[in-house]
Every structure is written in structure tokens, then in C-alpha cells.
């Protein structure tokens, strides 16, 4: 069974080395791929110097969706069975990767999302984000009859079935909630397990306050358009 950790990184020179060492320490049996999404800082150099990861240097910034998808393409072409996606900024804990992958190894699920709202996570994100997440949760309940509490989480594990769908079709901007929709609509099993989220060690969130509105509109429009497609 071949397993890979996919780490999208855009200007994460402060955090990336720490993340890589943690990944190596906790899941030494995983290959590691960093997708440097056109960073203008030392992200690529630092990631290479650890000797832990292969690094894909994208010549131009394509955004989080395009970067993560590059990892999916790599994973599918190289025949990986399981891929874990984890942020390059250190907000996810690599020691939880094993727990994330466990339901997939047991064949209980196709996709596992690390959620900050399941069980005893103490992490509090900003109010707009929490409201947005609540709204996505409600949408998922109504449209998919599934209870996904943290569809914006970028800490996820996928099996081959999920990778085969996403390497072809993955949204560019704010891809996470839409990807949940795609996967569930494709009949895949998506579950959540509790995960702790740290304050970011460096870099900035891709979601700034004034972008949250665009985020919401974009995600709902995209899901709406996908619903139309299915009816044909």
C-alpha cells in the first residue's frame, strides 16, 4: 500500500520545515510531496533542504485548488493508494495523520475530513468563518443529507476512488466545501473525525475578512451550478 502526504505551500518558509519534520516523525511510511505554489520566499529551498519531501515548483501561482490538484495528479499517476492533504502552515497536526487514515485503511470510508468541531477541539476560528462553516453544514444537511461540520477544513485523507475523481475535477478557488459536495454526489463515503487545529505558525490565511463574502457567494454558486448539471 503506497501512501503520500500532499502539502500545498504558498510563502510558508517559516512553517514548512517544521511541518515536514513532524510528518516524517509521525508517519515515516508516507512519501511526502510539497507543492510550492509559486512562492516568492524560500519555501521551495527550505523544503528541499530537509531532504524529506519531493518538491513541485509551480512556475506561477495557481491558487490552493490548482496546487492541491497538482498533488492529486501526481498521486494518481504514481499509483498511490492513499493521499493525505495537510496545510503547509502548521495549523494541522501531523501526529493525527494516522488517525485520519485509519477509517480508510479499515475500508470504512473513502474520504476522511479532520474537523475542528467534532469532539473536544478547543480551536476557535474567526466569527465570519464560523458563520460560513455553519451555513455550509446546513447546506450539506439539506442537499446531501450528510452532517459535515467542517467542510472548509484542508486536513483530509483520500483513497484511490476519491483521488480518481478529484485529479480530474477540483475547484480552483476555495475548493474544500465544493469538493465535499462533488465526492458525496459521486456516491463516496465521507466522514469526519475530530482534529486539533493550531494557530498558524507563519504565512497568512487564504481567507481574509473582505474575501469571506466572495468565498460564500462563489461556493454557493458553484454548488448550485453543479446541481443543475446533475439534473440533465
Amino acid at each position: 500500500m503506497r501512501k503520500i502526504v500532499i502539502i500545498p505551500a504558498f510563502n510558508e518558509e517559516k512553517a514548512i520545515a517544521g511541518v515536514l519534520h513532524e510528518v516524517r516523525k509521525h508517519v515515516p511510511d508516507f512519501d511526502v510531496l510539497v507543492i510550492n505554489d509559486g512562492s516568492v520566499d524560500g519555501t521551495s529551498k527550505i523544503a528541499r533542504e530537509t531532504g524529506i519531501a519531493s518538491v513541485v515548483d509551480l512556475p506561477k501561482n495557481v491558487g490552493i485548488g490548482g496546487a492541491v490538484q497538482t498533488g492529486f495528479i501526481y498521486a494518481v499517476r504514481k499509483g498511490y493508494d492513499i493521499a493525505v492533504q495537510i496545510d503547509g502552515d502548521g495549523q494541522h497536526n501531523p501526529e493525527e495523520i494516522s488517525r485520519l487514515v485509519d477509517p480508510i485503511l479499515k475500508g470504512e470510508s473513502d474520504v476522511v475530513i479532520g474537523s475542528r468541531f467534532v469532539s473536544d477541539s478547543s480551536f476557535r476560528s474567526s466569527l465570519p468563518r464560523r458563520l460560513g462553516i455553519k451555513l455550509f453544514t446546513l447546506t450539506n444537511k439539506i442537499l446531501l443529507q450528510e452532517n459535515i461540520t467542517d467542510s472548509t477544513s484542508g486536513f483530509r485523507a483520500y483513497n484511490k476512488k476519491a483521488l480518481d475523481i478529484l485529479f480530474r475535477d477540483y475547484p480552483d478557488d476555495y475548493p474544500e466545501p465544493e469538493a465535499v459536495y462533488i465526492l458525496i454526489k459521486s456516491g463516496l463515503r465521507v466522514i469526519e473525525i475530530g482534529a486539533t487545529m493550531n494557530e498558524r505558525q507563519g504565512g497568512r490565511s487564504s481567507i481574509t475578512f473582505h474575501k469571506s463574502l466572495f468565498y460564500m457567494v462563489k461556493v454557493f454558486l458553484a454548488i448550485f451550478v453543479r446541481m443543475m448539471k446533475k439534473k440533465k
Binding site: 509551480l58 512556475p59 490538484q69 497538482t70
Partner: protein, 123 residues
Amino acid sequence: MGMDDVQGIRIQILSIIGSILLIIFIVELIRRKRLREEFSILWLAMGFVFLGVALFRNLLDRFSFMIGISYPPTALFLILIIGLMLILMHFSVAISELKEANKKLVQEIGLMKLEAEKKGDKP
């Protein structure tokens, strides 16, 4: 011949010349390969619509009457705005396609550089 007719013929001649110049300009752009045919179609269509309206003055009046516009020059603006909207939409579609193609290229170049590195070549 009254003053109104003279004015009318003046603007008619100007419109005809303007429309023909627009059409020549577009054809010239295509000929010099500065403009791809797919993008020229809407522009050419606009040029010919203007030429038609300029040549046959009652065309605009009849069209206005047909769709219920009481002041014919407004119909001209309507045609113009619809034409521009179509062209702009065409641009948005074209840009979206370019963005998608661009993303795919960037992804493939990144992956290919990694492959080359692994084979021992320096990027």
C-alpha cells in the same frame, strides 16, 4: 430639399463611411493575423448591422416600430449595447478557457520539472 433632409443625408453618409471603415479595419486585423477569426465574427456582424442601418434608413424605423420603441435612435443604442454585451461575454468565456488551459500548463510544467530533477538533470 429642406434643412432636415440635408442634415439627414450628412449623417447617413458619415454612418456609411464609418461602418465601412470599421469593417475594413476588422478585415485588415484578420489579414495581419492580429485578430483570430473566432473573435472577429461578432465584430464583423456589428459592422454589417451598422452598415445596413446606415444604408436603409427606414430599417431602423421599421425595427423600432416592430418591437415597440417610439424613438428610433434608442433602438440603435439597444442594438449597440446588446452587441457589446455579446462581445464582452465572449471575452469572459475566452478568458475562462485561457485560465483553465494556463492552470493545466503550470501544473504539468511543475510535475515535469520534478521528473527531470529526479532523473538527475538540473532544472
